[in-house]
Symmetry: C2
Subunit: 491 residues, 2 copies
């Protein structure tokens, strides 16, 4: 049975769109640009949430919840912030509907116009800093370390499931500190939390760096980021952490009395990752057969499929299968026994391959006779026969190996796709043919950055934190440069 | 140090409003009717969420996520549904802001008007049933058992923290079934899940019942509910579970092929509880000293406060305290050692009393000498001296007792406040003076129900599921009645 999935080599973008829908992760809704996250996709997101939430709490953060709506006037208090977001805001103007004159249709009630329009939050700095003014009086109230899990809306014109949607789910951390040093340390810490999460939990290698002024968050002094590389050689920004200086504290008049009793403006950070990570996950590991999931993120880690003729054989196999289910659950492995009689084994094999279940265990008559199981790995598509006494340990061990193998594979791909170039011809050639990150000297000006973008569609993804000091000349202008930055075409 | 908390006996409503703010649970925001849920309040909500989510998953439900926005036209497809919600809807009409002519202010861009207005979801039946049309083809796709954790908006004119806010957080389950019997069983099951959660986890006794036609959810055939009684004798609807019949399936054309291949409309339920439960929690257990939390819901179950003179004594006490922290954490008790030197013990005692921390352990010089701890219970405000070897067991045991004690106390109060009356004079007298639930005969007509409401402000909270068949005459009209229903003034 064919999955009818477009091959990555044929059309990567089409493959992605099809996979998201066919693997039951998400689908478009009747509302322009808004997605429905289906149960299987949401279960993966819940695993990300749980792990991130644990990491936030371990680093001293607490969750809270702030309003969905932001009065228009708040929004414009921080000048660069409003410039960054005003062009893509959903605006609430009325608070009531009424029956139309025909007595059937409903329409917006013109008498129920809001005095001040409300913006559906695209990010919550403004409403949160308006609130923090009441929470912060003294250095004793600092640091204030808060995170929120929420939905946000940015009215994007071109949307793609998970990667760019009008509404998306995310977390946004918003912290307040007594000193600049402490706020910068917090922003760097959260970038590291994200990097560890991406690498250790999602098996996605990332480059840590800072954004150039052009690519910075609207209202930030410095934007730290983690950048991942997708299989098609395009980069994806997987998380950002902003040092906001005193910009929002000044815009919302948030001051504290320091230890000497003097009033000072507070220092701020904000940081977030979103359901966009689902896109990164898919485009880092999956293949032409469907989704590939790192075991840490798989809602079902092991599926057991019986191969049988007749009810009696099914009963015998089910006994074995149920024992295996119990043994695996005991050690914390999530397992499903698919004994549906309405579907053939081949159909089930395809289905679980498409959905990226890490290990598939088949039990047939021969296995029953020999006390064995046939175990198939989703990442390598290899099979092995394992005897019953070894099976639990084998599965535990293989899941760990798969988690590491997926990271190693993605890391090797990423390393192969960071190319140092020293001329603009090379630059263009790599972008067109080899793809991936192009490591090049840049003269440090927004103008050159913009020009390169116009000529090649590549942007500076980041100035890597671990870049070596290396004098060079800008790949476009020939002007002096102090080190290489990473360019790429990006999602 | 006084807490400046209004006494319940003086002004219950004022006491509630003050307590919510002073105990750091929530506060009003700059956005009309929208609250900020503060970290301490959110931590309690997270505990409710975790327990409910576990119960939903144990009963076979999966989480998913549907859009925040609902096109206006969807909203009007189910006639009674639109009637129920149209008067309190936030409406998005535009998708962009622009700089005003003065170059400073921002305004809504009139060129960015949506073709069709979007409603911010007040509940998601319409968008979800529009989606289910694509998910359900055959009986094999049923039952579909889905839950969503989300924010919703109902533009209430009079708002109160947690009890009635324009935006609130909730979960909404939406299930689809092949038969009416199965859908009714699901709606009843979820009412029972809510009742068990309220009673066993929140220590809130509830009456299970069904709503009268007047009080039914807009679009439901039957609304099951759990009703709780607050300390001021007013009722609070703590959760509802609706049997929706085929109303939404018909409105959104959701059919399935049954086992005989015949097309039928699907049967539906929906069910939800919200951050309103926080209000129920507060008004069931708390007292004039502040919040009282059942141990199951307490973010901090035990707080340890050192009573000392000088650094050396603090060091000795801290050693004991840290050992106790370790011993308690080992058995899964959440504990905080408050060794702040900026605040006096008395201040801390007040603070943790206000915040409802179930047990307070004080360690002073005498305790140090005797190897004892002084343990104070928040519910009874009693103290006991406990020797070190017994302390962990004592705390575990006392927390369990407190959970039960809070339920028992609330249950006794509720039982005392269900009064059977047989005349309308008695009816009014109980409502005015004794307050609580009034158990009375009613002739079954919406007109009588409405009239009683006009005369007394009392509504029928529910027709209890366990009511006994008892012939009687309506307390207002004298017409025949088959059994008593529960009236009350309500939140």
């Amino acid at each position: 049975m064919s999955k009818n999935l477009t091959k990555r080599g044929e059309d990567y973008s089409k493959w992605y769109n099809e996979l998201v829908v066919k693997a039951d992760l998400a689908e478009n809704s009747g509302v322009r640009g808004c997605m429905v996250i289906k149960p299987y996709g949401y279960a993966i997101w819940e695993k990300m949430q749980a792990e991130l939430d644990k990491k936030f709490k371990e680093t001293g953060h607490q969750n809270a919840y702030f309003p969905l709506f932001i009065p228009k006037s708040y929004f414009s208090k921080e000048a660069s912030h409003v410039d960054g977001f005003a062009k893509e805001c959903a605006v609430v103007t009325h608070y009531r509907l009424k029956t139309g004159e025909d007595g059937k249709t409903i329409e917006v009630d013109p008498d129920a116009k809001l005095e001040e329009e409300l913006i559906v939050r695209p990010t919550s700095e403004t409403i949160i800093w308006d609130t923090y003014r009441g929470w912060i009086q003294s250095y004793r109230d600092l640091p204030l370390l808060i995170n929120q899990w929420a939905n946000v809306v940015r009215w994007e014109m071109r949307t793609r499931l998970f990667l760019r949607t009008a509404e998306f789910l995310w977390q946004e951390g918003h912290t307040a500190h007594a000193t600049q040093t402490e706020a910068i340390a917090e922003a760097e810490q959260m970038m590291n939390v994200y990097a560890d999460f991406a690498q250790d939990f999602m098996a996605i290698p990332v480059v840590k760096g800072v954004k150039t002024a052009n690519e910075r968050f609207a209202g930030a002094v410095e934007t730290y980021c983690i950048e991942a590389l997708m299989q098609d050689g395009k980069a994806l920004q997987a998380g950002t952490s902003h040092f906001l200086g005193q910009n929002f504290a000044k815009a919302f008049d948030v001051k504290f009395a320091n230890q000497e009793g003097k009033q000072e403006h507070v220092w701020a950070t904000s940081w977030g990752v979103s359901t966009r990570l689902m896109g990164a996950l898919i485009m880092t590991h999956s293949d032409d057969n469907g989704l590939v999931l790192p075991p840490n993120l798989a809602p079902i880690q092991v599926v057991i499929v019986p191969i049988y003729k007749g009810d009696e054989q099914l009963a015998q196999i089910s006994e074995e299968a149920n024992q295996l289910v119990a043994r695996l659950r005991k050690v914390g492995i999530s397992v499903k026994y698919d004994n549906r009689t309405t579907q053939k084994p081949g159909w089930k094999f395809n289905e679980y391959e498409l959905k990226g279940v890490p290990l598939r265990v088949a039990i047939g008559p021969n296995d029953l006779a020999n006390g064995t199981f046939e175990v198939a790995r989703r990442d390598t598509l290899t099979k092995e026969t394992v005897i019953s006494i070894d099976i639990v340990h084998y599965i535990q061990d293989t899941l760990e190996k798969m988690q590491q193998n997926l990271f190693d594979k993605a890391f090797a791909f990423r390393e192969e796709h960071i190319t140092e170039v020293n001329t603009f011809d090379e630059f263009k050639d790599v972008l067109e043919n080899k793809t991936g990150f192009v490591s090049a000297h840049w003269d440090g000006t927004p103008e050159t950055e913009e020009k390169i973008k116009d000529l090649t569609k590549a942007t500076i993804r980041c100035i890597p934190l671990d870049r070596k000091e290396e004098a060079g000349t800008c790949v476009l202008t020939g002007k002096p440069s102090a080190g290489r930055v990473l360019f790429a075409r990006a999602y």
